[in-house]
């Protein structure tokens, strides 16, 4: 009876937040399924099932209420981000393994919802790319010219993994081409000649990135995220890629290519904005976003991995508590004191 005030609350809940994040992913997923292949839908289902099972088991072990936490939607968001960042034809067990690792180790062993210092989906990606580098690098070249059934069979291991799908991401393709060719090869030429590249980035993939951008803007409009992280992430990526592109346009791709390739857009709007593992102060978010954008570029261009978003976000996760501590905003009435 002695419940404390306030006696009525805004109609918000963790599940509502998570459901809206899932809705915001739909434009990107739609473009993915349409242009790359419906295999992604299968992966989303596999990841979701694996996430819910792992979540349920961990809740049981930890003695937490099942219904309350299974319905919060956080496991589904993690699962979807994993499915969307893994290769679309990755074997089912790889996606499931990554997801289970994310939920069990990266989330629950650190204390569950709200306690994880690292983004669970990015932990899954990092673990799998280190443990299974070959499988994690098999990206279909352009769209998957096969039926949904064939795609499913490959995912489920019922059909042999054909050479055709052992392609590379546009980012990887560009990097390899630049490395293999002699120094007088021009990036503009490469982009124009190869089938894998579209209007300004990877064929098909550029529209998937566009879908994430659309969903991200919707989340911003709904106040699920603030502008700080995406703007800082994209800004840093544009500045560093633009500077190097201006310095040597033959060897460095332009900012637009980088923005719409790989995990840049999904990273800027959906991964680096994770409040649990990211920064929370306005200035902290700017530093976090810019750091992630910068590191992502450095890793994807100069590092050994095809893309750098996952490692960039994880590295910034490490710094988040310190950044937050050092960027506490002045409070009401204390702004004049330095």
């Amino acid at each position: 009876m002695f419940a404390p005030a306030p006696y009525f609350l805004k109609d918000v809940s963790v599940s509502q937040v998570m459901i809206q994040v899932c809705i915001a992913l739909i434009p990107g997923i739609a473009a993915y399924a349409w242009l790359i292949g419906p295999a992604i839908l299968v992966q989303l289902v596999i990841a979701s099932l694996a996430a819910l099972l792992a979540e349920s088991a961990m809740l049981k072990i930890r003695g937490k209420p099942q219904a309350l936490f299974l319905s919060d939607g956080s496991a589904i968001v993690t699962a979807w981000l994993i499915a969307l960042t893994f290769p679309p034809l990755a074997p089912w067990w790889l996606v499931a393994l990554g997801t289970v690792f994310a939920i069990v180790v990266a989330k629950h062993l650190y204390g569950g919802l709200g306690q994880n210092p690292f983004n669970p989906a990015m932990i899954a990606f990092a673990v799998c790319i280190v443990a299974f580098p070959a499988l994690m690098s098999q990206w279909p070249s352009v769209g998957l010219q096969m039926s949904l059934l064939d795609q499913m069979n490959i995912i489920l291991g019922l059909a042999p993994r054909v050479d055709a799908l052992a392609g590379a991401t546009p980012l990887d393709a560009l990097k390899t081409a630049l490395k293999l060719s002699d120094s007088n090869v021009d990036i503009a030429q490469l982009l124009a000649n190869q089938d894998i590249f579209g209007n300004f980035a990877g064929r098909g993939w550029e529209w998937v990135a566009g879908g994430y951008l659309l969903g991200g803007l919707w989340m911003w409009q709904r106040k699920l995220i603030t502008w700080h992280v995406p703007v800082a992430f994209i800004g840093a990526l544009v500045v560093i890629s633009g500077a190097l592109w201006l310095y040597n346009p033959a060897q460095f791709a332009n900012p637009l290519f980088h923005l719409f390739s790989g995990g840049a857009m999904i990273g800027a709007f959906f991964i680096a904005t994770d409040p649990v593992s990211g920064c929370t102060t306005p200035r902290g978010k700017l530093i976090f976003g810019a750091g992630a954008g910068l590191l992502a570029y450095i890793i994807r261009v100069f590092g050994g991995y095809p893309d750098g978003v996952a490692f960039a976000v994880l590295l910034m996760n490490l710094c988040a508590p310190l950044i937050d501590l050092l960027t506490q905003p002045p409070i009401f009435g204390m702004k004049n004191k330095a």
């Binding site: 404390p4 005030a5 306030p6 006696y7 918000v12 937040v17 709200g114 506490q328 009401f332 009435g333």
Partner: protein, 579 residues
Amino acid sequence: MLMNLFKFKGGVKPPTNKTQSVTLPIAVAPLPSRLVVPLHQSIGGTPRPVVQAGDKVLKGQLIGEADGWISAAVHAPTSGTVLEVAMHVQPHPSGLDALCVVIEPDGKDEWIAREPLDYASLKPEEVRERLQQSGVVGLGGAVFPTHGKLTPAKTVPMDELVINGAECEPFITCDDLLMRERAEEVVRGIGIFRDLLQPKKVLIGIEDNKPEAAAAMRAAVDALKEPFLVVSVPTLYPAGGAKQLIRVLTGKEVPASKRSTDLGVQCFNVATAYTAWRAIAHGEPVVSRLVTITGNVHEPRNYEVLIGTPMDELLKLATPHPDTDGIIMGGPMMGFLVPQASVPVVKATNCLIAHADRLFPPKAPEMPCIRCGSCAEACPHELQPFEMYWFSRAKNFGKTQEYHIFDCIECGCCSFVCPSRIPLVQYFRFAKSEIWAREREKKASDGAKARFEFKQMREEREKAEKAEKLAKAAAAQAAKKAAEAAAAAAEGNAAEAEAAAPETPAVAVDAQKDAKKATIEAAMARAKAQREAVQPKNIEALKAAQQQEIDQIEARRQAAHLSEAAEPAAAAPASEKTE
């Protein structure tokens, strides 16, 4: 008139629910069957009761005398008989008792001789004293004694006097109705404050969801030819918080560590201005206030209510629906469920909301914090509630202070927006009270340590003094003996003295013995007296069961010796607590 308004960060927009209670004019609540008037109704010292059970009192008669400067007098709300001066449950979430004067109304509602004053002829300190004697306190909810806020700072010029008619909490409309119906007297009261504080500007802030009140206030300001500005401020909870309203109207931000007068601003509630005017110009102390009765009731309305009216009696006037299961005092954002329905209306009671699950659905289970930052965005003091929550939960209270927990005004915005439905304010109250308790403990232990050290020092000093005394006495004795021996030697020369000589020491020894005996007897008597005085100690720290047993034995004893027992039996009920 147009003026540049400022914004405060954060704030929320809960559904206002104000329209229900503004359709009917203010009504006067009928006399209740009895009035329970708490003596402590303002910040500061608890007024001393000046009446006893059985006294006849008139309406407005002093019943509690202000204790110190920051304290305000308390008066009988109607004429009648004092039934008792005793402990009763307070309208406070703690449910604790406090001293109250209980009055049975005689139905005549007969005033004391009221003494209207022309305040223009009074000195400022006389006005302040009159306000204190009349029990004028801040009626916005903080109940700070008003006279204590009416002395301008010596060093900082008073720029703005802010009058708070914002009334930002949902459901509450008592200030709205007051301004609509009694604007002239409110404006006259503001005139008193203005004359005492001499500000450059007077700004009356009213949320823009109360256009009728603002119009009435403007009309009154014009009619009285006062240069006050009536300003409509955007409806955004908590715009009616003193610091938020000061920010909106003047752009100044008052931190927790400062008083608003340090920045040249002072702020009063409209209802406070009204009661100040009634006290000065009509000689009426604060014995009633406007209370909004709303929520799960058939006929929400504002009532003029006598202080001390039991809430359940009052709520009946608005006919609560049958599923009403509690009373919230104050608004839904900062109010609280009263510990029992019969607690009295006090000067801080601006609103009673009949509670029902239909209106205020039970909260969904608390989830872990996901650090979404909604609370930080909603906080009008720009704090980081989720960090303070984290450290409050971990009982790391030092850290909560680093995150400025004492700047939190407990407005409830953070709890309101939290998607994990964490009762954040509750955690902050817990942390604050723990910090206070620890400080008290530290003070107490420091005090105990100081006392112990002083005692040790005193004992040592006494020992030293005693030793010195003894040494002195021994030396004196030795000197005396030497002198006596010398004298005896001198006397020894005289033959007549030979016989007397051995006798003298014997007499002296006897006298010494008697004195010693007397001292010992006296000491024994003292010790006996002390023992007797100490003896009752073993019945001091009694358990309830033991006390009960003793009481039963006493009762039996009394039954056996009725005549002897009459007196203690009569005294017993007075010490009993009302359960």
